[in-house]
Symmetry: C2
Subunit: 437 residues, 2 copies
Amino acid sequence: MTDTAMVAQQSTDTGAADNALAQTIGRVAGFQAAGVASGIRKSERLDLALIASETPCTAAGVFTTNLVKAAPVLLDQAHLAHSANGIRAVVVNSGVANACTGEQGFTDAAETAACVADTLGCATPDVLVMSTGVIGIPLPMDKIRAGITTAADALQPEGWADAARAIMTTDTRPKCAALVVETPGGPVTIAGIAKGSGMIAPNMATMLAVIATDAALEAPLLQGALQAANAVSFNQIVVDGDMSTNDSVVVLANGAAGVTVEAGPALDAFTEGLTAVCTALAKGLVRDGEGASRFITLHITGAADEESARQVAMTIATSPLVKTAFYGGDANWGRILAAAGRAGVPLDADKLGLWFAAGEKSAAIGEPSAASNGGSGAVQLVANGTPTDYREADAAATMSDEASTVRLDLGRGAATATVWTCDLSHEYVTINGHYRT
Amino acid sequence: MTDTAMVAQQSTDTGAADNALAQTIGRVAGFQAAGVASGIRKSERLDLALIASETPCTAAGVFTTNLVKAAPVLLDQAHLAHSANGIRAVVVNSGVANACTGEQGFTDAAETAACVADTLGCATPDVLVMSTGVIGIPLPMDKIRAGITTAADALQPEGWADAARAIMTTDTRPKCAALVVETPGGPVTIAGIAKGSGMIAPNMATMLAVIATDAALEAPLLQGALQAANAVSFNQIVVDGDMSTNDSVVVLANGAAGVTVEAGPALDAFTEGLTAVCTALAKGLVRDGEGASRFITLHITGAADEESARQVAMTIATSPLVKTAFYGGDANWGRILAAAGRAGVPLDADKLGLWFAAGEKSAAIGEPSAASNGGSGAVQLVANGTPTDYREADAAATMSDEASTVRLDLGRGAATATVWTCDLSHEYVTINGHYRT
């Protein structure tokens, strides 16, 4: 699929991985990015990002399903529907979410887009706007306007790292990912940045991601690819279950690679690559979840249908009891079964099977096929709804790493679901219990 | 309604309230109770409670809707349906939940009932069994049998306080409530004990309540009264959203007061009294919720229907972000609106109104009627979905007490819902993050 391996940035350390990432991101032809300090946030923090394409892009987006939607979300949905020429840029500010801001909020979001359009020489509907930060206060438009001018001057192909930093709120590190995909027509590059998973920050609103590709795709194909990628990446993560008012993922395709991706093998390869980029960003959001100290892969297998598998997975992944047990490194299976039992889907308590394993593992842990491949190191804790004679030390060992995998089999069918989540720590309470001051 | 005011015990301090409570509980004619240390739990903690009636009772129960049900829940449902003579006793152990214990669990629960039946001279189906504690380990039947013998010897009309103590797990104090209800036929007494709200304790399963009355009621009337009372008391509380495998509330009516409660005004008065007892116990559970430092009354008003009002209330009350803000004493309205927006019910973001007030207040806070009555002290934070010009100091003042009230008006109809909940604190994480050792 790729001629360079997937590269994703988790830390701010310079090093081989970061160099490879920078090189790959720099290969997204025809895109430039910048991150500047516009004064929206205190101190000299970068707080405004601009990603621009030299030529118009097809674009696709997926947005929060929260019924309390921030103004920029509603604006972007309109612009994606009505841009006559194609999207040219995405502008993102952190510090202020522009949510619950009424009519003024819409006026401000539209003026932000107009300001970028003026600067870049395109039409207002060709610009997408994202905001993340405190709910309920208006955008400081003077700072936004000045920041856009500064950012436009700073645009450069290597500006992605600054852009990733400028969209952070309480994130502890920027999240970037990039990938070169070999398609039948030639190589194309997909690069993306993201911030803040779930609505995890003090009164902050948002998980945002901006992805760019130099492939050429018709908008419906791009939207389809994004929806497919999103379903198994960003929609598979949960930090605290609190859906934001601002969640947005957009992808821009400017065609600068000279490769047109048509339906068929090319689209399949592109969608696979887009999924890999989205997955790397999504896992990065969980690992940097508020106060997170552990990364948990939760597989539900043997469900009657996918919807019920997902419902059981989300109920377990958002259970405060389960999440605090993960924090304690406690293979506390009773809480997992109890959460499954209240998930609102049919369940046979005496058919449940539960396995734990160290590390990020597939849903095959506990299967004979996994064991015959040298073993998955999985410990079966529950069979037929009752505890096995597992040794507590073996169970505890599966929780000693930064990453663990849990598989719950419902014994009812063949449907599965996977969710990535993190623990609920003292640090989460500290961060979110703070006064907004 | 009553000739003595409602008395509920929250602390272990001796004092006027406790004396009044003890006197009222002692008036439940024909019932005896005991709490003993049978050795199920470490040290000399009371861990087995027995409540017995001198004569057979009509009985009613409401149980967990979790599909992973503990053995005693299934046993009690069968006994309530099949007891030919009437219920004579309830036996409760703490320390072991007898959940996820397979066939052995059912055998052990049935044997526990049989042991009580032998001791008291009644039939096995005349005994109800409750368990609370660790999931997945079998009941220590030797200790249970010996404990039942000890408890039967210790039965006395004043034994309720010991019984309330014996059913505690990580509760920090016993919960008792009692009330004398004046019915057309004369006074009857209703008394109850309860433990542990939600599935809040380390690998512990359960909220349990046992209520006794010396009124005489036909079983269907008693079941109806319990369901009505339960709907607006125990079903209105939430600590962490984790429904237990063992949740049970049972009420026994032995008729020893010589007063028969028939449908009509007598039943209305009885139901009102039962509701008051259940409400006092339910609020006690929230106030003693794991790590709880604040008691929050959450009113949803202006909903299209009760179900959606309740769904919005429960979504807000279980939001980690909302609960940590309560912990921080932060009137963080953005999180409340965002939680409402993801509750899965239709919502008009621009019609939302939000008020905070100090103390336990009614759903009328913010209404002109409340203001004209000297004011409810409510601060309106949001009108038409956007922030008012409230002063932050006024909002913070509503969160400075142990109890606060929040009202969210959806502006869609006339339906309402109320939920009582607590905050999410460092202490919750500490308690539930501990290893099971």
